[in-house]
């Protein structure tokens, strides 16, 4: 028998009682907000925001019937909903009961730099036994989240939802709302997961191509195209099955802290409009989200109002949020299906009119494959044919494909640039020879699902507050990596290889162009300031805190350097960040600007 966890003193219990999860004996479990099935009625807002207390400690938890050890906030994973109000200051007391330093970063929130919660950038961290008080004015509204920025603690459960209610009425109506926080849970020690990736980078990939795949490809496509495909990938020493670094082999995917077997449920009355606040709080997993039988009206992206877009499926990158309204008409159950992008597992929940109802669970779809477009190869025949009728029996076209549904990808974005001679050193394996605008393309695996899928060009900022202004500075940054050795970087250099932060002059507008030289998507996150994504919508270009850059993509964002201080800038795939894909941006009035000629 294991030893019991430290008992909570009665006084401490009452101190945290407001946001504590239901204590089921010794084990911490899902938070209260996930277990009460009725959601929050719209309009039911707090007007005064009391001080919030968060206690961080290790707890034993139950995931899918198996016991694990997690870092909990007030006894649960995810932590409790931190609900703030625009215009009212946030006061959050965070107590660290771990044996190591911890931190909380408020993801997507504009606040003073010393409140941003990144050890080594904003502050020295929260020491064991210390209580740190975060205090900041709240100047925005929407759905966000919070998480540890210390080591790999986030993977152990140190995350939770953050909701800010607006002062102005919202431009959409709904009757009820639910938080749907997706995450990935492993029973392994996250430090061991990282060590394994360093020793065998495809450790978790159990979808590699076999001799059997080789022969079935030959019978499907012929010997010539199959051989040339294998040789093309072999020459590069890359695998098209490399979709996710860490997969369902070790992960249980959670919805609001509950495994698929625990089936998180949200109740509704037929005819109600329900707002679902989707948050991807996972460490390494992109999800493709759909609710069979329901259309999804996407109304917010990264907490920002957008012109509503009706889709049937969307891909949510690590750290992104999407607010969606659904209007289920039937008195029945609907499955919220969040398939991991590599299709090695899924997170699951149900919307139902009665507790205990369940809808059919869709089967996992076939695993996607990377394409030569992802490798940054110029596909001359395809690029020349853009806009022309496609002949499906064209034998030459099959040379460019590995699966018939990945073939020819006529929606692949146009080439916008070609890579220069710099290969970024031994820390980077490949370069995108041609760089494309891929903002209109669906995410990996969603090319031909037969229904409308959300793409980045769909995101159009609702308000008209964007001010047009010539950028004062232009920066180009390449997303690089050496998958074989699990090294990840910007411009071929890990964080420890650069001297000092990237300087922005306070008050300037920076146009940052990112080029992804790797064949994986990376969700890039800038702290403290918005990135306005140039997705061709002009004054309605959306503001985002996290942008997923597709393989071989070239995209640009505008950043107004209006927040003085040091800000983290990094890939939000946790183990990529740990491996070196991280930078500090220093915004200061005494930095020099490079005036555009």
């Amino acid at each position: 028998m294991g030893s019991r966890d430290k008992l909570i003193t009665r006084r401490r219990f009452l101190h945290y009682a407001g946001t504590f999860s239901i204590m089921a004996g010794f084990a911490g479990i899902a938070p209260a907000y996930a277990l009460q099935q009725t959601g929050i009625q719209a309009g039911n807002r707090q007007e005064t925001i009391p001080d919030i207390n968060l206690l961080i400690r290790w707890d034993r938890i139950d995931v899918g019937g198996r016991e694990g050890r997690a870092i909990t906030l007030n006894g649960s994973i995810p932590g409790p909903i931190v609900r703030l109000k625009e215009g009212k200051d946030a006061v959050i007391h965070v107590t660290n009961e771990l044996q190591e330093d911890t931190s909380i970063h408020w993801h997507g929130i504009l606040l003073p730099a010393e409140m941003d919660g990144v050890p080594g950038v904003s502050f020295p961290g929260i020491k064991p036994g210390q209580t740190f008080t975060y205090r900041y004015p709240v100047k925005q509204s929407g759905t966000y989240w919070y998480h540890s920025h210390s080591g790999v603690q986030e993977q152990s459960g140190h995350y939770g939802p953050l909701i800010i209610d607006p002062t102005e009425p919202e431009p959409f109506e709904y009757d009820r709302e639910y938080v749907v926080m997706l995450s990935d849970w492993t029973f392994e020690d996250p430090k061991r997961v990282f060590a394994k990736l360093k020793k065998m980078s495809d450790y978790y990939n159990f979808q590699r191509r076999t001799v059997g795949d080789f022969f079935s490809d030959i019978s499907e496509k012929g010997f010539g195209p199959t051989m040339s495909d294998r040789l093309a990938w072999g020459r590069m020493r890359m695998s098209p099955t490399d979709i996710a670094d860490v997969t369902g082999y070790t992960y249980t995917y959670l919805m609001n802290g509950l495994s698929p077997s625990a089936n998180w449920t949200g109740l509704f009355k037929p005819g109600e409009r329900i707002r679902l606040r989707f948050i991807n709080g996972s460490a390494m997993s992109y999800f493709n989200v759909r609710i069979p039988g329901l259309k999804l009206s996407v109304i917010q992206s990264d907490g920002q109002n957008i012109k509503p877009v009706e889709v049937e499926e969307f891909q949510i990158a690590v750290a992104e949020t999407y607010d969606v309204i659904v209007n289920p008409g039937q008195d029945s159950a609907y499955t919220i299906f969040a398939e991991s992008m590599d299709r090695s597992g899924y997170a699951l929940g149900t919307l139902a009119t009665q507790p205990g109802m369940a809808a059919p669970i869709p089967a996992l779809r076939e695993r996607p494959l990377r394409t030569m477009i992802d490798m940054g190869m110029p596909m001359e025949k395809m690029d020349n044919m853009k806009g022309m009728e496609m002949n499906n029996n064209d034998a030459e076209s099959s040379q460019n494909s590995h699966r018939h549904h990945g073939s020819m990808n006529m929606e692949a974005g146009e080439i916008v640039a070609r890579h220069g001679p710099d290969h970024h050193g031994p820390g980077n394996t490949s370069i995108a020879m041609v760089e494309r605008n891929r903002l209109g393309e669906p995410g990996t695996g969603l090319e031909d699902v037969g229904h409308r899928v959300l793409v980045y060009t769909d995101l159009k900022r609702l308000d008209t507050k964007y001010t047009k202004r010539k950028p004062d500075r232009e920066i180009e940054l390449h997303l690089t990596g050496n998958m074989e050795h699990y090294m990840w970087s910007f411009d071929g250099k890990k964080f420890s290889e650069v001297k000092g932060p990237i300087p922005f002059k306070y008050g300037e507008r920076v146009r940052l162009t990112m080029v992804n030289d790797t064949m994986m998507e990376h969700p890039i996150h800038l702290h403290g300031m918005w990135m306005v994504l140039d997705n061709g919508n002009g004054a309605h270009n959306p503001r985002k805190h996290t942008i997923s850059v597709k393989p071989a993509e070239r995209l640009s964002v505008e950043i107004d350097a209006d927040a003085p201080g040091n800000w983290a800038f990094h890939c939000h795939l946790l183990y990529h960040m740990e491996a070196g894909m991280f930078r500090v941006v220093n915004v200061s009035a005494d930095n020099e600007t490079i005036t555009k000629k």
């Binding site: 080594g120 020295p124 080591g151 074989e484 050795h485 420890s496 306070y506 040091n566 200061s588």
Partner: protein
């Protein structure tokens, strides 16, 4: 009156000046202090230990136990790499050989390490137990088309030059059932009879091992391994009454940590 006006104007200018200084001052931010911990530790030492072959060989002659072990410790770019291999005859005249290398390895390109160091060999069991040391320079990495390659040039303490090339490939039958063909050849410039080394190509070894990955880290295997001594080396072996040709059935385990 005039003096008061002048004073007032001067005061106004002073207040404006200090106000604009203080506005700019709170927008100045120094970089994070050195004494704070780093936000990420991306240069921590990493290590790896691989028992690539740990097997029992059923030879045409006496059976042997064979090992082929590698390990490294260091950072992404610089590692200390240790390799050891050898075999031990399981018969009355116990005999065998052991080799150990210690190499500084530098990642010089995305897939290749340059390795420089030393090697020490011992042969034992014939009564004389000769041993010798070498300087080593070579490459280890992943060649196009997924071949794991190790190649090195050796210069012994007596100035004898030799070289080796090893290549392995992985063929997946299922996600866990993996066949590993293996090729090795050794070449020597000078004959070194004491160690059974002839001039020219010494030997060629072809192996095929089929492993089942119970875990990634632990995979038992069976296989075959064929060794053929060549040219001058074959002559030396024949003179000592040794076989020049050996087909072995092997069984063992591949594990790593």
């Amino acid at each position: 009156m005039k003096n008061h006006n002048l004073l007032f104007i001067l005061l106004l200018i002073f207040v404006q000046a200090t106000a604009s200084i203080s506005v700019a001052e709170d927008k100045i931010a120094p970089p994070p202090p050195e004494e704070w911990p780093k936000p990420i530790e991306d240069d921590r030492p990493i290590w790896f230990l691989l028992f690539d072959r740990l097997e029992y060989d059923l030879n045409e002659g006496p059976d042997t136990i064979l090992w082929d072990v590698q390990g490294w410790i260091g950072s992404d770019f610089n590692k200390l790499w240790i390799k050891t291999e050898g075999d031990q005859k399981l018969s009355e005249d116990y005999g065998g050989d052991v080799e150990i290398q210690a190499l500084y390895s530098r990642l010089i390109s995305p897939f290749w390490y340059l390795q420089i160091g030393g090697r020490f060999d011992t042969l034992y069991g014939n009564g004389s137990d000769p041993s010798r040391g070498f300087g080593v320079i070579g490459f280890e990495g992943l060649a196009p088309y997924w071949y794991d390659v190790e190649t090195a040039l050796f210069v012994s303490q007596d100035g004898d030059v030799s070289a080796r090339l090893e290549a392995e490939y992985e063929l997946l039958f299922t996600q866990r059932l993996i066949a590993q063909p293996r090729f090795e050849t050794n070449i020597a410039i000078q004959q070194v009879e004491k160690f059974g080394v002839g001039e020219g190509f010494n030997d060629v070894e072809l192996g095929l091992r089929l492993r089942y990955e119970i875990r990634r880290e632990f995979a038992p295997y069976i296989g075959i391994s064929w060794t053929r001594l060549l040219g001058d080396t074959a002559d030396i072996a024949r003179n000592e009454g040794e076989e020049v040709d050996n087909l072995a059935f092997v069984t063992g385990v591949r594990m790593w940590f």
